[in-house]
Amino acid sequence: MNLSKRAPWIAAAPLLLVVLLAVLLPFAWRSGGFLSDCLRGDECAVHDLVADGYYLKAVFNTIWISASSTLVALAIGCAAAVALAAQPSWRRASSVLANIGANFAGVPLALALTLLFGVQGVLRQGLASAGIALPFDLEGNGGLLLAYLCFQVPLATLMLALPVQMLEGGLMDAAATLGAGPVLFWRRVGLPLLLPSLIEVGSLLFANAAAAYATPFALSGTSANVLAVRIAALVSGDIFSNPGLSSLLALLMFALLVLVIAGANLIARRLRRLDS
């Protein structure tokens, strides 16, 4: 048997069917329901979204927390990856640690943070007895940002380790021989070459943060005002059930994430073409 031209399509068909049934069909069905409600003119969820600042705030919170956790994670992760490139013997241990951090999200992370920084948390109490009050509340946006950083920073380090390592070697030696110091090298050579990878990794980190449901839900229940929690609470909640608004928020999230991921891929590809 030789693989024909149709073979890859036949081999991919079961997977495509599973994705179609499990992901695209329910998504299209819900979005279609929302659109037809609005086109018929009865009970369009857009009115609920605009009338209630609460849901617009959830959109804003999601963008704010995803963007800030991404930017901080990129900065720390990139610097850590530079340190790792200079110390090959630390790479293995660091990658194990970062892997644990990146996967320690959701319920286990909420448990740990409540233990350390909750109202009765040992670190919060310990610092308070030393006269230092922590400037954030675990259930507010500050606490949420800390929680997201706990998995975003290790993830950024893991994803940037390889691109930073690729800069290693000849390029750096050449710059050093020509008298460039670290700051000049990174500003003029290192960062411009890394930029496409930073943009791609940044888009995935943004999507990872925006999609996070377990962490905000485990930290503050349905009162966490981010999109992922609102989308679920509007359907599974008994009191404020509004499936139409939930579908609209899911569509908004989809549009936002497609824009970020596709935009980042496009810009990264352009930049790589300019470099080569």
Partner: protein, 265 residues
Amino acid sequence: MKRIGLPWSRLALALVALLAVLPPVAVLLYAFSTRWDRSLLPEGATWAWLVEVARTPRVQSAVVQTLVLSLASATLTLLVGGTATIVARLTSPRVTALLDTLSLLPYAIPPVVIAIGALELFVGRWGAWLDLRVVYVVVAAPLLFPLLHKTLGAAMRQLDVAPLMEAAHTLGATDGFLLRRVLLPLLAPALVACLLLCWVTAAMEFAIANLLLGGSIEMLQPLMNGMRGVNGHLSAALVVLSFAVITAIGLMVEGLMAWNSRRNS
């Protein structure tokens, strides 16, 4: 190389280590201590929480349900996703590009949206005809596919299959023969690693387990969350047990991939 490193990069590395290590260590200490609320350090080392959690029938049944359902989903992903990725990488850059795009889909349509869609359509509308377990297994599979596609893709790139195919064709072997007798045996460790990775990921997934199955089938992560409110030590003990298993499986995956690349190089 050292001359190029920025002075504060080591500080950043220390910060990464702190953020990654502090939460797991806190949970570990809490799981092994009698109480930890009076001072900065926990008091009274004990195995009691771990023993109690392992003996609780509710935990045992959640562990079994989780392991069975997540293994089923991981197997489905390996069968449909593995076939698609291997054949596409061998023969068609176009289908490979489609699969690359497909592996970005769970980033654009996150698990919570998938779970709510499945809840409304497959449980709310068609719940009378569909088995909830089957729905869970199928719905979780697309979330695992990116992991499989990436891991298997890396293993195949390392194998450099193009010259192998050329040699096989020159010697008169068919693609089917090459696949059965050469590629699949060479890729076997990578395939096992993919299965283990998908299994662990599915077992630790929260959104679908909580929203789709919540109320009818109790899974590990929602149980952990529920236990937090009753007894934090027990919940911490459950987290420690699950992460011990995950770390063991992670080490197996790493060992398998390392052995695979040594064997194939």
